[in-house]
Symmetry: C2
């Protein structure tokens, strides 16, 4: 039994913006966007986040806003950025957000 | 003595996304983007918001994230969308967010 996710047409921009409006969650999106297959633990490792309970909250926010798919796979949860859905529903939004994160980082 | 606002290069994308990731604050931005001169009271009237204390919080979030200018003018506060700053720092972001809000509304 997997997690509940909103369908593409159930996604709401307020939820997406609120989900992305957090440094850890924004970092997660950048890791996922860079490609490769990730599970929750591997993303935590890349980000150097050690609090699993804090991340449980962040994963739920990202999942329930429609930003990521989170799917059980064996003893792990695979996570994937829902780029197709976000690009289809909100053209240009994700790219603008990712570019903005790079701008801040370079500042 | 006016309010404190971040300079353009002090704006951070997490703060902007978090500020916009709320239905009332997103509605405020849409009103301001539609043009015309607005003070806090006139925006409240357009949105049908009656709780002034709630709005005080929202104005602070919008101001401190760098999304709006809020400037005392007589007994009122003029509010202006910082489109120039946001477009310069994060090209395409504000337009993508406003388009997304229209998409949701049409759904």
């Amino acid at each position: 039994m997997g997690y509940r996710h909103p369908e593409r047409d159930q996604i709401r921009i307020e939820d997406v913006l609120s989900a992305l409006g957090n440094p850890i969650r924004l970092s997660v999106i950048r890791v996922l966007d860079a490609g490769g297959e990730h599970n929750c633990t591997s993303v935590l490792g890349i980000l150097g986040v050690t609090s699993k309970s804090t991340m449980t909250h962040h994963w739920r926010v990202l999942r329930e806003s429609g930003v990521v798919w989170q799917q059980p796979s064996g003893r792990e949860n695979l996570v994937t950025l829902r780029r197709d859905d976000l690009d289809a529903r909100y053209p240009g939004l994700l790219d603008a957000v990712l570019a903005a994160a790079r701008t801040d980082e370079a500042a």
